[in-house]
């Protein structure tokens, strides 16, 4: 009996002690000269690789320690928020969750880096970052973020399925105007096999171009009013009732239900679960996706090719650009040291090293990018470069970086478009509802400010 009590008592004591240390480490600044910078990121191998860079960095900057904290994609935003609430905000992070730059900016979470950069003598050119890319994270001439990676929309295709169907591979040149949306649909038809047996079913194309609201941009329409891009991501009007937008949605979901060349949600989720990418199953001919999917190319058990996104109805926009920046959060006590870490991460040498460590993150540093193009087995470097160049030329920044409160808006689109994706409703039936709800939602955002 006594022994049991002893165990219990030590158990309790242990807990209290651990709790005590946790408390003190939370508030402890430390009297020493060493400064700890917290880098908060997604818990996935293409992000957590930064841990491997720390020893080198710390050797070069003996007064700075780097601590990496992580959260899964789903929890990224809420964990960031709770860290801020608990006064344990990280120093450096990015908008890797559902929310985007504008959301962070409007919440006042970001530090204005303008003065800091000036004092430091920072020049984007030193890191081979194009000025227009640097401009993405400026508001009213003030800098809030420093670009780190730049992803684009690409077309990945399954060479095995192309060979089996006897099709020629799609081009990588965006100027090859014979590679059109309609041609893509033709190709897709030839690769589609309808079957109840998942092991035999096969689809021609998975058109995952941008998020659901942005997707119509490819067809020359726009869900949000023009002022959205200049007023801090707060659309004054939504256009879901306009014929151009409605037609665009008809085309998008027509791929699944009229042409029947794109996988149904039932198929996608059967083979890849709630959030996976069905392209990896080898049962999708072409997949229009963000270039982060390339980073998984080593996991593909088929030959993969990369191609230009075909020419669609919009002559100017064919690719969504996702330029991931690094931010310093407003409450950071050591912005100078945080900047050192950021600068280290965008040097040519580290950006080159990061490509391999991450499995293929596209560097923002254009000199390092050359190496990126050559880092995928079985794909010609020149082809990837051509696809990237074209995507930059015909690119538009991702909505989720630009629009305020994006996660809630996106949630609305996902839920309301569900019946359309399943084929239970036509786009024209649900769009008026989304129009109404979205208008209300935006109205609420305006009021709460």
């Amino acid at each position: 009996m006594n022994k049991k009590w002893l165990t219990a008592a030590t158990g309790f004591a242990l807990v209290t002690v651990v709790a005590g240390t946790a408390c003190s480490s939370g508030s402890g600044d430390g009297g020493s000269k060493t400064v700890t910078i917290t880098h908060y990121t997604i818990d996935s191998p293409d992000r957590t690789f930064v841990e491997k860079l720390i020893p080198d960095f710390e050797a070069k900057h003996p007064n700075i320690k780097i601590k990496v904290t992580k959260a899964p994609y789903e929890q990224f935003d809420s964990k960031l928020q709770s860290a801020i609430a608990g006064k344990k905000a990280p120093d450096v992070t990015s908008h890797w969750g559902y929310g985007g730059f504008m959301e962070y900016y409007n919440k006042g979470m970001l530090m204005d880096l303008t003065q800091l950069l000036q004092d430091d003598g920072f020049s984007a050119g030193d890191y081979n970052i194009p000025e227009n890319v640097m401009d993405i994270y400026k508001v009213d001439g003030k800098t809030y973020g420093i670009p780190l990676n730049s992803y684009v929309t690409v077309m990945l295709y399954n060479k095995d399925l192309f060979d089996k169907a006897g099709l020629t591979y799609p081009p990588t040149d965006y100027e090859d105007k014979s590679w059109t949306f309609d041609k893509m649909v033709d190709y897709a038809k030839k690769m589609t096999v309808h079957s109840n047996n998942l092991a035999e079913a096969q689809y021609g194309v998975d058109f995952g171009w941008g998020e659901r609201d942005q997707r119509v941009q490819y067809f020359g329409a726009d869900v949000y009013s023009e002022d959205t891009w200049t007023n801090g991501g707060k659309p004054s009007k939504v256009n879901l009732d306009q014929p151009a937008v409605i037609d665009a949605y008809k085309k998008i979901y027509g791929l699944i239900h009229d042409q029947k060349v794109a996988p149904t949600p039932a198929f996608s989720k059967s083979v890849s679960g709630q959030f996976g990418d069905p392209f990896l199953s080898g049962k999708i001919g072409m997949s229009v996706v963000g270039s982060w999917s390339l980073a998984a190319s080593s996991e593909f058990n088929f030959k993969v090719g990369v191609a230009a996104v075909p020419q669609g109805p919009n002559p100017n926009v064919r690719s969504v650009l996702y330029v991931d920046p690094l931010f310093i959060l407003k409450d950071s006590k050591h912005p100078k040291e945080a900047l050192e870490w950021i600068k280290y991460l965008i040097t040519t040498e580290v950006q080159e090293k990061s490509i391999e460590l991450s499995g293929g993150n596209p560097p923002v540093n254009q000199k390092a990018a050359e190496k990126y193009y050559g880092s995928f087995e079985g794909i010609e470097p020149a082809q990837i470069k051509q696809v990237y160049d074209g995507a930059y030329k015909y690119g538009f920044e991702s909505y989720n970086h630009l629009i305020d409160n994006y996660s809630q808006i996106n949630e609305l689109f996902i839920n309301e478009l569900g019946p359309v994706e399943n084929g239970d409703k036509k786009p024209e039936e649900v769009l008026p509802t989304i129009q109404e709800k979205l208008t209300k939602l935006l109205e609420r955002f305006r009021q709460s400010k």
Partner: protein
Amino acid sequence: MNTAAAQVREPRTTSRRRKMPAAGPLIGFVVLLAVTVAMLAPLWFMVSTSLKTTKEMLAFPPTFIPETFAWSNFKELFTNSDIKFGQQYANSLIVAVFSVLGTVISSSLVAFGFARYRARGSGLLFLLMLSTMMLPYPAIMIPQFLLFTNIGLHDSLLPLILPNFFGSAYIIFLLKQFFSTMPNELYDAGRIDGSNEFRLFWNLTLPLAGPALATVSIFTFIWSWNDLLTPVLYLDSQENFTLPIGMAAMMSSKFRLAPWNLLMAAALLSSLPIITLFAVAQRRFVEGIVLTGIK
């Protein structure tokens, strides 16, 4: 204690009856057989999927017995560094064991207090305690979350463990019922011996309460083992995940094909402690269920 609970055992059947089953029981038997098949089929599906290769798991119609037994699925759970299943299993065990310890120690103290002493306000406090049984966790989770976060316990197992050291209304109630049945004479004798109140509790009461404590321990263990909402709120890093959130994260991990066979293997392994408890302590286990109404 609930008298019904003590009587959970199969009703006696007379051997004569069994020879010529009446129509009623026969129909009942057939219905039960059908229900049993329905109840166990998904579990069989789980076991068989956990042993299938990725190719076979997607076949339609699904096979009931795997063509080749892919035992490697179980091995991969522990060796794949992206999953951290072993670590999460350990976390769950730590949380469950400390939760049981905390709940049993504190609840039995409190239950003893309510059962043995009358003081100003004791009746009211008991009612108050009972009413917290109805208190939905979501109603208090936000301030609790901010509280634990503010004292720096974010992303640690402590917010999952610590509240248990303050007793659980359910269990206090059950143990109080039990302690109340103990005869006063027992304590009078103890007092004459010169024992203080704590010794009365520790040396006299607890040794007699073994079965009741075992029952509530099982109950707390199950509850802690299956909890999802609390870990979802508090835990950030995969190394700190408990099994429920770890498995949920496994399903939603991006850029991968849903590893159904691995998920089923994980689901199977995660159920083992409960199944083991059931096998080892069936009577206590069933009593716990009956007493607490736990699902």
